[in-house]
């Protein structure tokens, strides 16, 4: 269907944002930014956290209004004052956090607020379901229209969000980190849907930190840095180095090498460990001193459940955990912490840090008893301890000791790590440590992990980012449906092997 991608000669761009500036209070978030988009084009919008991507897209979708600049669609200048204006223009934003109503079914969600109404304003159920089915069929989404949204996976929910946007005749679709919680398979389906939409002339803005996805799906990449246009790459120019150069504007920290391994000392072991979610499956593995072990696998394969059980968030159903050969009885996180087993949890903002508290309070909360006299906290000590930690982790701009909610994702993650470093760790578990973290902070976090490992501690890292897990781990365990289906040594790492092991137990079902 080549005619559908046709770009009109006189109006080359469908959307033109020119000279967009936006400041919040005194701080300038966007400065003279230009952004253009053609029909049927997928443009990746990239940049570190805080570069202004989200703000720019929020302006386009009417959540913020720009201080300066012009937005024109189809060569007509448009004033987008509120979300409704954007919707009328066919601009739809799919949020990172999904906005579905749990207790409505799929069709109800797709047509929420625009239900086909009959006499007396009663919803025409039949029409609703038929239309919903039509849309899902067009998009090739195999989900029944009467399914409960609460029962869908996050990936499926994302599809519903897209269907919702399509039902509103979206001509410009903005996706903010759509794959951050999708499995490999779901990502594939999403990409298929994106390609379909593209061929129908929908213009798509794709925000993602994952470079591999950008290579695959984007026709063009626009990179922002510190609220300005940093550069633009055409499809053939999109590659790792070019993007990083534009995003970071500096070379990344060199990767710290691991120490030369001597005799392996198996300091941690899980022996026939069984978790609440998979009480039938026994898990056995061990970690050597100074080693970084990655746990790969699909979402829902029991990885988070496993590490939460080790840390005492959930009780174990059976089996043992051993530290330096001795069994440790962990009933709650406090027990694990006492043994030097720490967890940097999956959901940073809900579990890793207390966003309404400041940096010092967050960093020191894990060891307050040591920083107090007669139960009273000694501010001098807490300040000194957190200063030491923040320096060590290169945690920028904390002299003012702000509330953690004002920090970027990467810096929040550093706080979540720093709170454990003051204690002497034997084993630190990282669950999805770089989700939503920009490239610069990512490599810093990898270096922090290597640094910790080099002090003879053990590191266990759960990650859905295949590239990441292969880059940082010395050894990879792959989980599938609640059990460890394989172990890969550094020399044998490959994406293909990991995927094969990750789906091993799913295929036999």
């Amino acid at each position: 269907m080549p005619d559908k991608v046709k770009i009109s000669e006189t109006h080359p761009y469908f959307l033109e944002m020119t000279g967009i500036s936006k400041a919040f209070d005194a701080s300038c978030v966007l400065k003279d930014v230009n952004f253009k988009l053609s029909k049927g084009e997928v443009v990746a919008l990239m940049g570190e956290n805080g570069a202004g991507k989200s703000t720019l897209m929020k302006i386009l979708s009417g959540i913020y209004s720009p201080d300066e600049g012009i937005i024109s669609i189809d060569s007509t200048e448009q004033k987008i004052r509120e979300v409704k204006d954007a919707m009328t223009l066919g601009i739809a934003l799919i949020h990172q956090e999904l906005n579905l109503v749990d207790n409505l079914d799929v069709a109800g969600n797709i047509f929420l607020g625009q239900e086909p109404l009959g006499w007396l304003g009663i919803v025409k159920k039949k029409k609703l379901y038929n239309q919903a089915k039509q849309i899902l069929d067009i998009l090739g989404i195999p989900i029944p229209v009467n399914a409960s949204v609460a029962a869908l996976s996050i990936g499926e929910q994302q599809m519903i969000e897209i269907a919702k946007a399509v039902s509103q005749n979206a001509r410009i679709l903005i996706m903010d980190e759509p794959t951050s919680s999708l499995t490999v398979k779901e990502t594939k389906i999403l990409f298929k849907v994106i390609r379909d939409l593209k061929s129908k002339g929908v213009a798509i803005v794709y925000i993602s930190h994952r470079l591999s996805e950008v290579f695959e799906i984007a026709d063009r990449a626009v990179v922002l840095k510190d609220g300005r246009n940093s550069g633009e790459l055409l499809k053939e120019e999109i590659n790792h180095d070019n993007i990083l150069k534009l995003m970071v504007g500096r070379s990344l920290a060199p990767v710290i090498q691991n120490k030369v391994p001597g005799m392996l000392q198996w300091d941690f072991a899980a022996s026939d460990l069984r978790t609440l979610k998979y009480p039938q499956k026994k898990i056995n593995f061990r970690i050597a001193r100074g080693e970084i072990v990655g746990i790969a696998g699909l979402m829902g394969s029991g990885r988070t459940e496993l590490v939460n059980t080790i840390f005492g968030i959930n009780p174990k159903v059976g089996g043992k955990t051993l530290l330096k050969g001795a069994e440790v009885n962990i009933k709650r996180p406090a027990d694990a912490i006492e043994k030097g087993i720490f967890l940097v949890p999956e959901d940073r903002r809900k579990q890793g840090v207390i966003t309404e508290m400041d940096v010092i309070d967050n960093i020191t909360i894990t060891n307050l008893d040591a920083y107090s006299i007669l139960g009273l906290i000694q501010k001098k000590i807490t300040k000194r301890i957190s200063e030491k930690q923040t320096q060590q982790l290169n945690l920028a701009s904390v002299e003012k000791n702000p509330l953690v909610k004002y920090l970027s994702g990467g810096n929040q993650q550093k706080v979540a790590i720093a709170k454990w470093l003051a204690l002497s760790p034997h084993l630190i578990i990282f669950d999805e440590p770089t989700r939503g973290v920009d490239v610069g902070a990512k490599s810093e976090i990898y270096n922090i992990m290597r640094m910790i490992a080099n002090t003879d501690s053990m590191i266990l890292i759960v990650s859905s980012d295949m590239e990441e897990v292969m880059k940082i781990s010395d050894r990879i365990l792959v989980m599938s449906d609640g059990e460890i289906t394989g172990e890969l040594l550094k020399t044998a790492f490959s994406e293909e092997k990991i995927i094969r092991l990750a789906v091993a137990k799913l295929e036999t079902k």
């Binding site: 978030v29 694990a336 809900k350 309404e356 309070d361 139960g375 009273l376 906290i377 920028a396 004002y406």
Partner: protein, 318 residues
Amino acid sequence: MKKELGILVIFICLCFTVAIGNPNFLSFTNLQNVGRLIGIFGIFSIGSGIVIITKGVDLSVGSLFALTGIIISQMLVEYNIFWVWAVLFTILLSTALGFLHGFLITRFKIQPFIITLCGLLFYRGMARYISNDVTLGFGYSKGFETLKFISTGNILGIPAPFILLVLIGGFFWLVLHKSVYGRYLFAVGRNEEASFFSGINTNRIVLSAYVISGFLAGICGILLAFYTNAVAPSAHGNFYELYGIAAAVLGGCSLRGGEGSVIGIIIGAAMLQVIQNLVNLLGIPSSLNFPVMAVVILIGVFADRFFATRKKKQNLQI
């Protein structure tokens, strides 16, 4: 102290208004009486506030006053029990009931509103049942004059309950704002899950807040019984739980948890008493007592919101 500044300014304005409207406000007797009430209300409001800081609520306080009032009167007057034992038993009972609330809330994960609402209903009924719905008093307080003095006496002209409030307030100021335990309270109120992931025994912290609330309610139950000198089981302490909550909210506690200060709570409690006093002194019909209070609470909360958003604007994205 910065956070309490807004409410303090309103409080002072309120005092000025009353003093201008009726100079008797500043008379020694009036100040003494208001001070006494501030003492009594301030003490249990600290408990209500601590519970609110953990994102909970304690609705049982008013009914606890009726129950403890009836029990201490019966012990002292009917059974002639030595007052020290009577006081200890009453406070212990009230503390134990607070423990029960906390236990049910944390163990079975039931909403605090429901548990303490049941407490409100249950204790009120028990007070009426035990006393056969008859108003009890303390006669001439023979044998327990000390106890009466703690509630109605003055030391150097200062009402004893006010002094007690200063002592208890000082202690809880240290606990809340300087101690490890206090930091845990705020942490749990702000984000219970992250606190649990940081190794805090969150259940124990939440439970302890209800124990403190029960303990302070026990002390106030005794003070209040002697202050009114008559305990009518169906009316004694009615709505007082709401005074505690109102004082806490006025003083900057957020019902969303993790927010608040002892000084704020005490100023909040003081404000409610001054409003009460204002109604009397300015000749406002006493039926308008609650509406006046409602308006002042609204003003207070809006002022707090105003200061909060201003502060927010000063904090920039980092």
